[in-house]
Amino acid sequence: MSAPAQPPQVKALNCPNCAAPLTIRGFEHTLTVVCPNCLSVLDAKDPNFAILEKFQAKQRVEPLIPLGTRGKWRGDPWEVIGFQVRTIMADGVPYSWSEYLLFNPFKGFRYLTEYQGHWNDVTVLRTLPEVAMSSGNRIARVLGQTFRHFQTAEAETTFVLGEFPWRVHAGERARVMDFVAPPRMLSSEQTESETVWSLGEYTAGARIWEAFQLPGKPPRPVGVFENQPSPYTGSVKQIWLLCLFLLLSLLSVSQLFLIFDRQEKVFEHSYDFKPGATQEASFVTPEFDLKGRTSTVEVEISTDIANNWAYFNLALINTETGQALDFGREVSYYYGRDSDGSWSEGGPHTTALVPSVPPGRYYLRVEPERDPAASGMRYGIVIRRDVPSMMFLWIAALLLVIPPAFVTFRAMGFETTRWRESDYAPSGGGGD
């Protein structure tokens, strides 16, 4: 059914307590109206607007959406006709939220609720949810969706304004139970006479401001609300999938280099070294060719040292250009046994991966050193051309994992903040 072209006529009367003008927008649906001037609760069904109660609000609250505001919400015109503030006490601290009652003569009622800048669009359910226990948690199922219990509290109506389709009165109390499945929230309100279930959906304040053409901007949301959708929903899984793809790509690239790098052995020889000998310790190897593109050269040294050290000054010298690449490697190997058991440090082998060596004819200058008191040492030198360095693979893999780990950490932090306000907070929560 389409909305009428002209706004429905409202009924105008005066408050019997303060004579302020009253407007009835909800027609025959309105049972109670609260005078906007003196806050007297009046019987809307009484021809003389009998005063039911003089509402004594400690503090007058101005609704963010003024009563009588009209807007198009979810495709239909709605008018704000009532406003109430409800309060729960948790650990002696009052927490209040606002409820705006919207009315459409053809669609009925719906609510907009607001807590610290977080808005929900709420409709009363006509289906009774099923409440059950699952894995030690209370859950509720309705409309094919499962909601997890968030909190149970005693809510008190602390401020009312406008019209209501029920007999509103000061200090009205209800046991409210919230279940969440972001962005939805299932709530039950239980009084002595009835239990009402409603379904809320988290809504951006900006959408409401736009729909009702409200001036300014909506208040900024504070903290994380119980059914606020996590900005990380789906994001964590997606970034880890992307990470996996990149890691596999990285592995593939490394495998290709492992397969296609030459890893060609260009020199191998064994030597003896006696420390303290009078002859010159340094020597040069026979010349060898390094082929292919500018690439790595791996120098591997294997010794027979035990509980001792040796140091090798090395220089890879190009016979044609006179370019020398100086580097050094220490070999130290210690082992033994003590009260903790066997131990060992280091090893008798070492390798050096010389970077970016152009092709050409080379020889290696070797200058071994040892403790002069040490015995002789036998060692072997193997030189290989074009050996891949796996170090970059590991560093890149680590750098790839950091962003997804950070996003996961943030997502967990968001959920921790959400549930900190529930009955299941890590500390301070008491359940119901």
Partner: protein
């Protein structure tokens, strides 16, 4: 695609690894000298290493 920056970051890393592997870059510290005389081939003791090495370990546990 919800993480375009991460994808670009990952592809850049992948590119860097490929380039590093292709160019033969490593983390080994090497000192480069130019115009080493050919006489070193005959007299290795005349060559003075310019590699700055760290203090060596001289003991066990």
């Amino acid at each position: 695609m919800r993480h375009p920056i991460y994808l670009i970051y990952g592809l850049l890393l992948l590119g860097m690894v490929t380039l590093a592997e292709y160019r033969g870059w490593t983390f080994t510290s090497v000192n480069e000298l130019k115009n080493v005389p050919k006489s070193v081939r005959d007299n290795p003791g005349a060559y003075r290493s310019h590699y700055m090495y760290y203090a060596r370990h001289v003991g066990g546990k």
